[in-house]
Symmetry: C2
Subunit: 487 residues, 2 copies
């Protein structure tokens, strides 16, 4: 029989993390495994979200759900299955989603009369209900949200970033006027920006999508785009102004205050488990992931250190006292009492990106101190036990700020402005990054740029003015946009 | 153009609730519609859970999730799709679920190599992960829970009670010993009992299922059974001891402390949106549903009453003050400011089962009072405004207690004990109810009883002793059980 330490050493020895500089893509896969965030499932492209990863998603849900409710939205639940004919009613919608659908053809031992699609998004099934619920202006605005799983049959999948099934929320609203719908779309984009920047510590660029990148069936799509450590862009959330497109095909009408029947104006907006991927790629380092304190499942972990059974008892007693104090102080704290070598515990919690580690050994106890270690910088300092709760709180705030600041610095350092096509190509062929440039606004040109450089229009930021000619073709520039290679 | 009142009258006039005594089944459908809890979806047997119904489910989730975490469980998420071959590995499991499966045969525009089943329950896909995660005794017990949607293709469906897709939680655990697994199974049954009785105000009878009624693939199934107002039984939650059945087919082994490889012992347990149906059928009356205060989305509603614009302003000001006071007192309160006749608002909130209604008109304000009305008894009394928060809290407690007490009284009055088969048949052919009787324990006999009376063994309660002969056949009694017709 192996000793406990040997067993643990074996388990620890399995964890090897590729360096970011070596192979960013392998690093990503490695840190997810090392932090026990998720596994690939036996079904192609599906994932198993493990407890540590799911606890982070639960925190996302808690914060976002509160923000949605504060902006007047209620949750509801609509069916997983959508009749195939529903999806076909909105022409652009079915064209966009058709290649990605999973289809139920048999159920209860029989072939179905009509195939059922596993929802890739729920506009069509939800607006069928809207058409029954909405009668007059009194029923507007209708502000709903749904937390659900959706399925899009993707060819290439990556954990969190692009999986066949993923978890998300989808907001769906109906309004009496075009203006109100546009206000809602921008309000929810702002909710997403705030969530990304204040909770995920991820600076994002809000803007509008190009025609080519907008949601299938929308009038306009807005988005927030973040930069990952490999300088690629990741779309972190989208908010769609659907106009009256779906209202017309699902006959969602209301009687206005003058007694006239009118089509409603609609919006939809969503973020998904993809944001966990964003968090990993924005902040992680060569030792593992780093979870921003405001969204961390575990904010601080206490590691008691002992050599003898006598020490063990004494140290655990002090550790439990500190644990209670931190808990009472509102800190998400865990006490790791396992009978393992402290160094192994350090590595494990480092891989899992817990923001603050507290080490407590017999000598610290003699001095009424503990050692506090920051995950983001590795800084280590002694803190008096009686000040520990306060100091941890300050440290968590400092870490949250530092993660944001350094991500913003990185984004700024890797955002370039150019009017020269050769320079544009050079950047995209080299280290990449965001390039702010003038663009003609035409899809044909956008696709040519993509073909040559793999870069696409990530967004058309607000309050930017185009001037001169398009970066790629000779036409007059219509927009100043952000180009980047993207996930 | 219609006036507001006419419009509302029309809407109100649509709501007709069949009396319970006339047709319980239609009453059930009517109150769900009248309370805007749920709709049937355009897909056969699926439902749309409307915001008011979903808010109640969210409250269930909040309470249960806390109880699961307090008993050491963590949440995780596993795929919606299960390879058909996985389900087939456990013989009884596939036999039980095979007739109810929805099957994805095509995805991404192609026929799949292996059909995928939409999860009817997740034992197989979860235990595939368990087999990868569990290595030694250190990894046990593994205590997980999943909140998810599942699909069972049912022939006859009823909103909440039996729908093709439903929402639930499924707990899945693995243990080192048979004893530990049995302890877990009973611990979670007790969580469900507590939740039903203390939150849903629904008295239940805990016990074991007969062989015929147990979960497909389990060693033993435990359950809690509640009595509805039509005297039928509703299974409100189940907890399964899976033994090593699944461990053996999914090869879930651990290295014990002596260094020997052993199969784990497993449990699974779940409750679903069906519990919303239980709440409706246990407490509702001819005016609508009644939501127990501890689980209500809205615990108290304030209805301001005015005739002139001048009164309106004054009353709304006082109403807002009361709203804030109640909110600060921790009461889930809503202020209904809509420009509708007070009587229409009373009816609406009555249909929605809000436990306490507060009426506030100009004359109440003059006396610094408000009128408080109980949903369960209709009792109405004047309360001084400064005592309102306290009085509402007391009233909510009293309502919670009364709902439980009267449901328990009803259950006791309609539970009979007999040793006479003719009497048994008479009860089941008449008003029905629970019949406690001796039984031989054989499936053949149970099925004969069902054939003749539509009653089945609902559960074998703990601490009951059999004596004499089986109620139906001449064999020696093995168990004393509860028989009833059931949902």
């Amino acid at each position: 029989m192996k000793t406990k330490t040997e067993e643990t050493t074996e388990k620890g020895a399995k964890i090897k993390i590729t360096k970011r500089g070596e192979d960013f893509s392998r690093w990503y896969t490695d840190v997810i495994a090392a932090a026990e965030m998720a596994d690939y499932a036996p079904v192609k492209g599906c994932m198993v979200i493990r407890p540590y990863g799911y606890a982070i998603w639960e925190n996302f849900q808690k914060v976002l759900d509160k923000m949605f409710k504060e902006t007047g939205h209620e949750n509801a639940y609509f069916p997983l299955f959508i009749p195939e004919s529903f999806l076909k009613r909105e022409e652009n919608h079915i064209e966009g989603f058709s290649p990605e659908l999973a289809v139920v053809t048999h159920a209860g031992g029989k072939k179905l009369e009509e195939n059922l699609v596993v929802r890739p998004t729920s506009e069509t099934i939800i607006y069928d209900s809207f058409s029954k619920w909405i009668e007059s202006w009194r029923d507007l605005p209708l502000l709903l949200n749904q937390w659900a799983n959706v399925v899009r049959w993707e060819m290439r999948t990556r954990l969190f970033l692009r999986t066949t099934e993923f978890l998300w929320q989808e907001g769906h609203t109906a309004h009496a006027t075009e203006n109100e719908a546009e206000e809602e779309v921008l309000k929810m984009l702002e909710v997403y920006r705030k969530f990304s920047e204040e909770y995920l510590a991820l600076p994002v660029i809000p803007g509008r999508k190009s025609e080519n990148e907008k949601f299938a069936g929308a009038l306009r799509t807005y988005c927030i785009e973040g930069m990952m450590q490999d300088k690629k862009a990741l779309q972190c959330g989208t908010s769609h102004n659907l106009g009256q497109n779906f209202a017309k095909v699902f006959d969602v009408k209301f009687l206005d205050q003058e007694g006239t029947k009118q089509y409603v104006w609609q919006t939809s907006w969503g973020v998904s488990t993809r944001l966990i991927g964003a968090l990993i790629m924005a902040h992680g380092d060569d030792n593992g992931i780093i979870v921003p304190p405001k969204i961390a499942a575990v904010q601080a972990v206490i590691i008691p250190i002992w050599k003898s059974e006598e020490e063990r008892e004494k140290v655990l007693e002090a550790a439990k006292k500190l644990y209670e104090e931190l808990k009472d102080g509102g800190i998400g704290v865990r006490l790791d009492e396992r009978d393992l070598r402290p160094a192994w515990k350090y590595f494990e919690w480092e891989r899992k990106g817990v923001p603050v580690r507290i080490e407590l050994g017999p000598r610290d106890i003699e001095k009424s101190e503990a050692v506090m270690v920051r995950r983001d910088t590795g800084e280590k300092r002694n803190v008096l036990q009686k000040q520990l709760a306060d100091e941890v709180k300050k440290e968590l705030e400092a870490i949250q700020k530092n993660l944001f600041d350094r991500a913003l610095k990185f984004q700024k350092e890797n955002t370039f402005e150019t009017e020269d096509w050769e320079e544009f190509k050079k950047i995209m062929a080299g280290d990449g990054g965001f390039v702010k440039a003038n663009w003609c606004g035409e899809t044909k040109c956008e696709l040519e740029i993509k073909e040559e450089t793999k870069a696409t229009v990530r967004c058309i930021p607000f309050n930017e003015k185009a001037s001169g000619k398009c970066i790629h073709c000779d036409k007059k520039a219509k927009e100043k946009v952000i180009f980047a290679q993207a996930y």
